[in-house]
């Protein structure tokens, strides 16, 4: 049934029912017209009041548990050093507010360039990783295929046995990738975990559809591109998100492999702001202080955190859009 009735639009129809206990047991109720939630599918019953309230309370608690500390982080990032010192660290009640911490971080062009570097690495890296992973996952999704298990184990093993820091460095160095952006993309390009997730979803696709396509003469590439991928938008989006976040947050590889400071990605640069104001042994003498009057300490650390989060906040809605589209091709499973 390819319902096109407005109540079962693909946008909203894939909502499973509430967890709320059914008050009357067993029988579906007629929708009560005047108070009917327009997003509720036709076949779903109206939940009980107790259920609604519980749900609301639980979600409210969850959201508040996150919002309150988030509020603290934002307020602290907008405070002066003195204000944060007075509050003993994190500022809860806003006092003196200033954008100084952000201004300090964003001035000088170092952060903007690093942000561009990060964006580039994330985009290129995510595309490569997702492409390679999707291919590999599909290639591994037919359990009878040639060398299926050994190849699967090749992936699995990498989840349990890592290489040390020094051997990896020596490898990257011997490939002359030191100080190149590829050193930040290639070593981590394939995550066996993500491949397994994709594979899991691919294997869950109804075999009948694939068989039908194959009977029509489609080869594996065709099946992958024309049938499987359009059905897997959600999981590919998730994996792309995971990879993207991974690339965006990475700093350790850059610390090791990039010597040229102009090539530093954003996270590494941001961390250096957090390190300001550190007392070194034996640093009691020597130069006159640089950056006197600069904001240091908690406000800077919090501003750094916020700056790191903002891009994800921007990107996530695009990913999220894929979560509400259901399986359009779903035939009734036999």
């Amino acid at each position: 049934m390819s319902g096109t009735s407005p109540e079962i639009s693909t946008e909203v129809a894939v909502l499973p029912q509430d967890l709320v206990a059914e008050g009357t047991g067993g029988r579906p109720q007629r929708p009560r017209r005047p108070r009917r939630n327009k997003y509720r599918p036709v076949w779903e019953e109206q939940p009980s009041v107790a259920g609604q309230v519980t749900k609301f309370v639980v979600l409210a608690v969850v959201v508040l548990a996150v919002l309150f500390p988030l509020w603290t982080v934002v307020v602290t990032s907008l405070s002066t050093t003195q204000e944060s010192i007075r509050a003993g660290g994190l500022v809860v009640v806003p006092g003196d507010l200033t954008f100084r911490a952000y201004a300090q971080i964003l001035s000088g062009g170092v952060v903007t360039r690093a942000a561009l570097v990060s964006v580039g690495i994330t985009l290129v890296g995510t595309v490569i990783s997702v492409a390679v992973s999707v291919l590999a996952a599909y290639g591994l999704s037919r359990p009878g295929s040639f060398a299926h298990r050994p190849i699967l184990f090749v992936f699995l093993i990498t989840m349990f046995f890592g290489a040390g820091m020094i051997p990896t460095y020596l490898l990257v160095s011997s490939l002359n990738l030191i100080d190149t952006y590829w050193a930040l993309i290639l070593p981590g390009a394939v995550s066996a975990f993500n491949v397994l997730i994709l594979r899991n979803f691919f294997m869950g696709i109804d075999a009948a559809i694939l068989d039908a396509a194959r009977m029509d003469g489609a080869g594996d590439w065709r099946v992958l591109l024309r049938i499987v991928l359009p059905m897997s938008k959600a999981v590919v989006a998730v994996v792309a998100l995971f990879y993207g976040v991974g690339y965006w947050n990475a700093f350790f590889n850059a610390m090791l492999y990039i010597n040229d400071n102009t090539k530093w990605p954003l996270q590494l640069v941001l961390r250096s702001y957090v390190l300001q104001g550190v007392t070194l042994p034996g640093s009691g003498t020597g130069q006159v202080d640089v950056g006197s009057g600069a904001v240091t300490g908690m406000p800077v650390k919090m501003a750094v955190m916020i700056l790191a989060i903002v891009p994800i906040l921007v990107v996530y809605p695009f990913v999220q859009r894929h979560f509400t589209k259901g399986v359009i091709f779903g035939a009734v499973k036999g």
Partner: protein
């Protein structure tokens, strides 16, 4: 999904990152821990493979290889050095002398790797670099690395010979294992033929560096390292003089009991007397850093009575409820914030923290003042302060057969080591007038906004002039600092094996670890001194006795 989620595409990062502990911990925590790391790692902190040179051979330093000490003074200090204390200067001289009249460089570019705890400066159009390079005559191209993960960076770079830059900075707390025995002789340049004895006269500013600093850079009886000289006293216990006196309390602490009583008096409401004062405890109870001679036999720090007494006292301190709960919970990273915010009134810190606190607080809180306690002993007797390493950071030149290259690098080092009162010192530390700072009414340099981005410590990590206190912009600070240290200097003692580059065999490296945990546990009342006895017994049987024999050998060879 567990919280470390290594699988989501960050496998390399987190797997590797797990080894980069110092990289994981935010700034404050790591560095406040550094003094304790310093003592845990010991002098040098390196380790030798089996079959390394005999212990005694490693530690000998023949007098001939050390550079002569030829002090040069451009400005007379207002508070001269007393028994090695840091001299203080109340004024910036109106004019400077250029100690190296012609820039010695030949126009080449050299690569240098240094750590940084601060914001990365831009390279293009950086006027600070341009100014210093003009004084040098050559260009030093920096590969700045994140300070907290510098140990990991060093470990990898030093393992890959072709990636080693011309000039490498190595903090003493990041010394990799097998450093003295393998890395130094194979990767770095032996400087003895260039600097020993009177040869150092070619480099007058290097000759100005104290001999102890050079001594610490000697490995296997050869000189390798250029030093960043340190102070004789590195840590002190501060109290918030402004806040305490405002309460009407006069501070007069001359024994451990006095300190405890003061802390109790100060605790109340949301204010706590102190932070974690373990370092203080080790100082006032005169706990040796590693070994002590008692009746001709070597006694380990952990076996000494002083260590026990310190533990007993710290347990009392915690039990009295005067330690700020966040410090009890191990959050030492924010100790400075709490102390500066007045939530705790006594805290131990590196001496460098003094001026930084003034920098951060005087602006908004002109009455802010912290003062170190005059040294005292737990029993009220004569205090003893064990001197830390004479050098905390040093740098090495990459091995090269090109004599001209090494000579040039040393000449550049000569420029960088120019002391207070020279043009070079002024430019390196303050930048260019009008660009990085402007002179205020009193002739004091006031940094500009540009200074915050361009002027970061880079050259200072390569080589430094002898210590001097020149922070004249904080009223009263130089005087307080210099007089305090001049007074404290009389109590400074050299511990056993002071300034020796000793590489312990690697299997003993983690012997001291259980005691670090024990110190925390006993302080917080989770364990008691009987557990200490058990730990000592374990220590002895799992290598402690062998370690004792190892050090005894070194001692006998002196």
């Amino acid at each position: 999904m567990n919280s470390s989620t290594p699988r989501t595409g960050r496998l390399a990062d987190v797997e590797v990152g797990r080894r980069g502990f110092l990289g994981m911990i935010a700034a404050g925590a790591a560095v406040v821990g550094v003094p304790s790391l310093l003592s845990a790692c010991g002098d040098g902190g390196g380790s030798a493979p089996h079959g390394a040179a005999a212990p005694s051979a490693q530690a000998t330093v023949s007098a001939e290889i050390l550079p002569s000490y030829i002090p040069v003074e451009y400005v007379k200090p207002d508070y001269p050095s007393v028994q090695g204390s840091t001299p203080g200067f109340e004024k910036i001289p109106a004019s400077f002398v250029q100690s190296v009249p012609t820039p010695p460089g030949s126009g080449q570019t050299f690569t240098a790797m240094t750590p940084l705890w601060g914001t990365i400066p831009p390279v293009d159009g950086n006027q600070y670099y341009a100014a210093v390079n003009a004084l040098l005559g050559s260009t030093i191209s920096f590969q700045i690395s994140d300070g907290n993960t510098y140990g990991d960076k060093l470990a990898t770079v030093l393992a890959s010979a072709k990636d080693v830059p011309d000039w490498v900075c190595i903090p003493t707390w990041n010394i990799p294992p097998r450093f003295g025995s393998e890395i130094v002789p194979n990767l770095f340049q032996d400087l003895t033929p260039y600097l020993a004895g009177d040869k150092v006269k070619d480099y007058p500013n290097l000759a100005n560096l104290p001999t102890a600093a050079w001594k610490f850079g000697v490995f296997n009886d050869k000189l390798y390292a250029l030093p960043f000289p340190g102070e004789i006293i590195t840590d002190a216990t501060f109290y918030r003089k402004d806040l305490i006196e405002a309460k009407g309390i006069t501070v007069d602490v001359s024994s451990a009991d006095d300190l405890l009583a003061l802390a109790k008096e100060l605790t109340g409401g949301n204010v706590y007397g102190c932070e974690d004062l373990w370092i203080t405890a080790t100082q006032i109870f005169k706990v040796v850093p590693k070994w002590k001679l008692e009746g001709g036999a070597l006694v380990s720090r952990f076996e000494t009575q002083e260590y026990r007494d310190a533990l007993e006292w710290i347990a009392k301190l915690f039990a009295a409820g005067v330690v700020h709960p966040d410090a009890v919970a191990g959050n030492t990273g924010e100790a400075k914030t709490r102390f500066q915010g007045g939530q705790s009134l006594i805290s131990s810190d590196g001496l460098g923290g003094w001026h930084e606190a003034l920098r951060d607080n005087l602006g908004a809180n002109p009455g802010y003042w912290q003062q170190p306690f005059a040294p005292f002993a737990a029993d009220g007797g004569t205090p003893a302060l064990f001197q830390g390493n004479p050098v905390n950071i040093f740098s090495f030149l990459k091995k090269s057969d090109d004599e001209a290259r090494i000579t040039e690098l040393l000449k550049l080092a000569d420029v960088l080591a120019a002391p207070f009162g020279t043009t070079e010192f002024d430019v390196i530390n303050n930048g260019v007038e009008g660009v990085h700072y402007t002179k205020d009414g009193n002739g004091l340099p006031v940094p500009t906004e540009l200074a915050a981005t361009e002027l970061q410590p880079t050259y200072t990590f390569l080589v430094d002039p002898p210590v001097a206190q020149t922070r004249v912009q904080y009223p009263g600070f130089v005087e307080a600092y210099s007089t305090w240290m001049a007074d404290a200097a009389q109590y400074v003692e050299e511990p056993l094996f002071f300034a020796m580059q000793i590489v312990e065999p690697p299997q003993y490296a983690s012997l001291g670890q259980p005691f670090t945990d024990l110190e925390k546990d006993i302080a917080r009342g989770r364990k008691s001194l009987t557990d200490l006895d058990a730990a000592i017994a374990t220590w002895k049987s799992s290598g402690g006795e062998e370690l004792r024999a190892f050090y005894q050998e070194i001692l006998d060879a002196q």
